[in-house]
């Protein structure tokens, strides 16, 4: 790794960028406490819009591969996101898809179930929106001074690796602070020649198994006879697996790493840490698993049990729709294919 930092005096360069995302990932990085000082001590932060002033043209002017490490959070929703993804790929040695949006599309990716029109309707015409003039974004607009443009909005959201080559994947919505700190420690150790980088394409800041492994709840052979929402359960047993209590928990299918935070406080895992090792389609995996343990052979009864899942797409694909085999539903896909 020392070959990356040719001139020993010069600190390696660090960048972080925020595409289609909520901003939580940025907060999570800041949330690592004094560790952030290690970042500053070891890196020259060249581009991080949320923390410092910087212009895209400054990045464009940098030599290719001059940034050692870029954390990229957010999905690719529009032309600007795509431009920055490609630009940062070109300028960085190590590009990390950081957080669920960049990895799997996350909540913004759920818009792939709807057409662009439906997305705009929801954003500009919903009951909670005051828009008496029915203003809609125009991607270009002629004004006396010339043509104004805003970045083109794409019909589907793509994940970072669907747009550019990605070196590492760090899931989580957002990634847990202790995992971020551990990854930063690792990179610094690599800089000092004390550790080696994981193989390209690795998922980092995670465990080897799924959330159940980190969950302390007792479990038995699974047999689901009902599925309910947590508020419908009179008294949640604090020590028994939630799934066995009929509360659909995504823990079995979700990559470990978070420390089973949700189930440990009595809330079902919702799957933000993404699929397990080698799993291509998270939602399909979880669905087959749940379907396998429905304790009935009567079609009507099975139907009734499954009716306990209020929002199947939002339950099984909440974080990963854009990266699933499905990728997008038909209305959105048709706008892509034309």
């Amino acid at each position: 790794m020392s070959k990356n930092g040719q001139a020993p005096k010069e600190k390696p360069k660090f960048a972080m960028y925020w595409a289609a995302a909520c901003g939580g990932c940025e907060i999570a990085v800041l949330n690592i406490g004094e560790k952030i000082l290690d970042v500053d001590a070891n890196f020259d932060v060249v581009f991080w819009p949320v923390a410092m002033d910087a212009k895209y043209k400054d990045v464009e002017a940098m030599p290719d591969k001059s940034i050692l490490l870029t954390l990229f959070n957010g999905g690719i929703r529009n032309e600007e996101n795509e431009h920055m993804a490609k630009l940062l790929r070109q300028k960085s040695q190590i590009l990390v898809a950081f957080g669920s949006c960049a990895n799997e599309g996350c909540i913004p990716g759920l818009a792939n179930l709807s057409s662009m029109q439906e997305v705009f309707n929801a954003a500009y015409e919903s009951v909670s929106t005051e828009n008496p003039q029915h203003i809609r974004p125009q991607f270009s607009y002629q004004v006396p001074e010339g043509m104004l443009t805003i970045p083109l909005f794409y019909p589907v959201l793509r994940t970072l690796d669907q747009v550019v080559d990605v070196d590492y994947f760090m899931p989580g919505c957002p990634p847990e602070s202790h995992q971020i700190a551990a990854v930063i420690d690792l990179v610094i150790a690599v800089l000092h020649g004390e550790a080696e980088l994981p193989p390209k394409g690795a998922v980092i800041g995670v465990g080897d198994s799924t959330v159940c492994e980190e969950c302390q709840r007792a479990r038995n052979i699974k047999k689901i006879t009902k599925l309910v929402r947590i508020h419908e359960v009179a008294e949640v047993d604090p020590d028994l697996c939630l799934l066995e209590q009929g509360i659909l928990c995504n823990g079995p299918a979700t990559r470990s790493g978070c420390g089973a935070r949700c189930p440990s406080v009595g809330a079902a895992c919702i799957g933000c840490y993404g699929p397990a090792v080698g799993v291509v389609d998270y939602g399909a995996r979880l669905m087959t698993a749940v379907a396998s343990v429905i304790d009935s052979t009567e079609p009507d009864e099975i139907e009734a049990i499954l009716d306990g899942i209020p929002d199947p797409a939002g339950t099984f694909y909440r974080f990963n729709l854009a990266h699933s085999l499905l990728h997008a539903a038909r209305p959105a896909m048709e706008e892509v294919i034309g």
Partner: protein, 676 residues
């Protein structure tokens, strides 16, 4: 498809013509040429099309290429893997290539036989070949599993099929546990008087076998018993048998019969006497029962009902009556299991227009068997329901409940012959005029048609047509007090009403009412009707898809005694072959759990149809017992952590095969994204 420069495997692709089976619909030469050109980047170095790949010349072609061209993978595009996978894998093994590095893809069953458009079929064949090539790259060399075989065998069901199987095995010196639900072995055959076509006395030919089985040093007989639990796997099953209390000490009982003579409680015998006769609350079903010991039926015994009586106990000369006996559970170890649980008779009440249960003189076939049995309730007198009147006109109706979409679509095989048997017996014993109503006369097999001719010559009247109704509503004075059979005589082309005194319904054979539960208990499958499914309908009729479980007799489908006996013997021969070999080789297609990735969620724990998955409470991980696993894939699909993979069906293999199939000509996936 694959961007790396050097393919890592050297693959040979062989496209079979299967005579004209494939070549008539698929341009096989084009597929071979295409595969060489288009799949070269994937590692395909040699392709051939050949008339019959399965011939020795075809196999030698593969063997030669492996040796001379250094092939590391082989794809044969031919028929279904069910047929020739083994052939080609063995050929590869002969040439020194691990057999599991050979894939057989079907371009016959899945392509040429189901398409007619030659060009489209050829394109599809290419896709199938591309899928096979992509998959075979990820195949791994595997070694077969060797499982030792416990030399004892469990036979469930002591009808003629089960008895035959048990005797064959025991006579060759191996231990057999024979489990029978009823108090005696014998099954349905024990209820008959005569057996077609030779009209031997059923008891005369059956009882020697029963006695043999009962006294055989290598047979442990468990009657009045049922299997309650089956654990383990081929070679080493642990079977738990529940022996119901007989309330008789069999060490003391001599079978003298005083107890049932003295027992005051008469019970209608629905099983052995088909409801026509009585037994006592303490009984053996029939005189030649094996074992000879009676059972007390607690549901009907006066003592069990109201605490008084104990007549049998009082009179028993050896003090063998034991009212405090309890059920016993016996555990045995066996290597193989033969299921011979037989059939149930179709319930003739389900055809209300034939009047069974409503019109007194309508009998079922089994009732008639008891009626003409010398040891039956009428001592062999063929009489009407009043017990005295001899019938003068008798109708025998074939196919009751069989060959009928409303009931069972299949032919019950034996009822034409048993109907002829009835006609013959009625004629012989009563001199009555007999009408047989049939749809088609099915008298295939040795000496059967000759028997039909004999019955024809005896003067039985055959009317071809399905009976519409049996009624006692007379329209003419000549019909008064008779049963009238309403039928369209299809040969005469007219409706007929034939008055008779007695009607015999040749009810069909049905799977046992509990067949599905029994199949489930032993991990095998039933057809939609409920007959147990054989491994191959023609080539492997007594094996099942579950290793170590065999089937024999009417459990597998309707058949006569000779066929049941043959299957009993055949199943025994299959088991003996294994016992003699001492071990079997199993396909190494097994699932494995990667403990690193298993979260111990326990989703998979209850899913394995073969109970192959164990959970380690201490380490909180699950594990698969490879001897039990049959590679069905259920758990592989269910594991949400993707921690289970099936050898030979890894995710990589399946995904690559799908990609091969889909992307063989056009990069579909990238199109979605590049259009934006």
């Amino acid at each position: 498809m694959n961007d790396q420069a050097e393919p890592k495997e050297r693959i040979g692709v062989y496209v079979c013509h299967c005579g004209s089976n494939i070549a008539a619909t698929v341009d096989v030469a084009d597929v071979a040429v295409w595969a060489k050109e288009r799949l070269g980047d994937e590692g395909v170095v040699i392709t051939h099309d050949y008339k019959f790949m399965c011939s020795s010349l075809g196999q030698e072609l593969i063997e030669r290429d492996i040796k001379e061209e250094g092939l590391t993978r082989v794809v044969v595009a031919a028929c279904s893997p069910h047929l020739h996978e083994k052939t080609f894998r063995t050929a590869c093994a002969r040439a020194g290539l691990n057999p599991y590095l050979c894939e057989l893809v079907s371009i016959r069953e899945q392509v040429s036989w189901v398409h007619s458009d030659r060009q489209a079929a050829t394109e599809k064949a290419k896709a199938v070949v591309a899928g096979g090539v992509e998959r075979v790259i990820h195949n791994e060399p595997l070694e077969p599993l060797h499982i030792p075989i416990h030399p004892a065998t469990l036979v469930v069901g002591g009808g003629i099929a089960g008895i035959q199987a048990a005797l064959e095995l025991a006579d060759s010196g191996h231990q057999v546990y024979l489990v029978e639900r009823e108090p005696s072995i014998g099954g349905h055959m024990a209820q008959f008087d005569k057996t077609f076509p030779t009209m031997d006395c059923a008891a005369c030919i059956l009882t020697p076998k029963m006695v043999d089985a009962g006294g055989h040093p290598h047979i442990d007989l468990f009657t009045w018993s049922e299997v309650v639990r089956v654990d383990g796997f081929v070679g080493n099953f642990t079977v738990t048998i529940r022996q119901k209390p007989r309330y008789i000490d069999t060490d003391l009982c001599t079978g003298c019969g005083i107890c049932w003579e003295k027992c005051p409680k008469r019970v209608i015998d629905d099983v052995y006497e088909a409801g026509l006769g009585y037994r006592k609350a303490v009984y053996t079903p029939f005189a030649q029962a094996v074992p000879k010991y009676p059972v007390i039926d607690p549901e009907n015994c006066t003592y069990f009902i109201n605490g008084k009586c104990r007549a049998c106990e009082k009179f028993c000369p050896t003090d063998a009556i034991k009212f405090d006996q309890e059920e016993e559970f016996i555990t045995v170890q066996v290597g193989n299991i033969i299921l011979a649980t037989g059939f149930d008779l179709f319930d003739a009440r389900r055809v209300p227009q034939y009047g069974y249960g409503r019109l007194a003189n309508v009998f079922t076939s089994l009732e008639f068997e008891r009626l003409c049995n010398a040891a039956g309730p009428t001592n062999g007198q063929i009489v009407m329901r009043d017990g005295v009147t001899k019938p003068e006109l008798v109708a025998v109706i074939h196919c009751v409940g069989s060959r009928d979409r409303n009931y069972n679509n299949y032919c019950s095989v034996i009822c034409c012959m048993s109907s002829l048997k009835f006609a013959h017996l009625v004629k012989e014993r009563t001199g009555a005029r007999v009408y047989n109503f049939y749809i088609d006369m099915r008298t295939a097999f040795k000496d059967y048609d000759e028997f039909y001719q004999r019955v024809l010559e005896e003067g039985t009247i055959f009317v071809r047509g399905r009976v519409a109704e049996v009624t006692d509503a007379a329209r003419l004075p000549s019909e008064d007090g008779k049963l009238i059979v309403q039928v369209e005589d299809t040969l005469a082309g007219r409706q007929r009403r034939i008055p008779v005194d007695m009607v015999i319904l040749s009810a069909g054979l049905e799977p046992r009412h509990d067949a599905k539960a029994v199949a489930h208990q032993f991990g095998i499958s039933c057809s939609a009707n409920g007959w147990f499914i054989e491994r191959h309908p023609k080539l492997d009729p007594v094996a099942t898809m579950t290793e170590g479980i065999f089937i024999a007799g009417t459990v597998q489908g309707p058949k006569d005694i000779p066929a049941s006996v043959s299957q009993g013997a055949a199943a025994a021969a299959r088991v003996l072959g294994r016992i003699n070999k001492g071990e079997i080789e199993l396909e190494p297609v097994r699932a494995t759990i990667d403990a690193r990735h298993c979260s111990g969620c326990r989703i998979c724990n209850g899913l394995c149809p073969f109970n192959a998955i164990i959970f380690h409470e201490d380490a909180m991980v699950s594990e698969i017992n490879h001897a039990l696993c049959q590679g069905c894939g259920t758990c592989v699909a269910a594991c949400p952590a993707g921690a289970i993979s099936g050898s030979s069906f890894s995710n990589e293999q399946i995904m690559s095969q799908i990609e091969g199939l889909l992307l063989f000509d056009r990069p579909v996936r990238s199109r979605h994204f590049s259009a934006v």
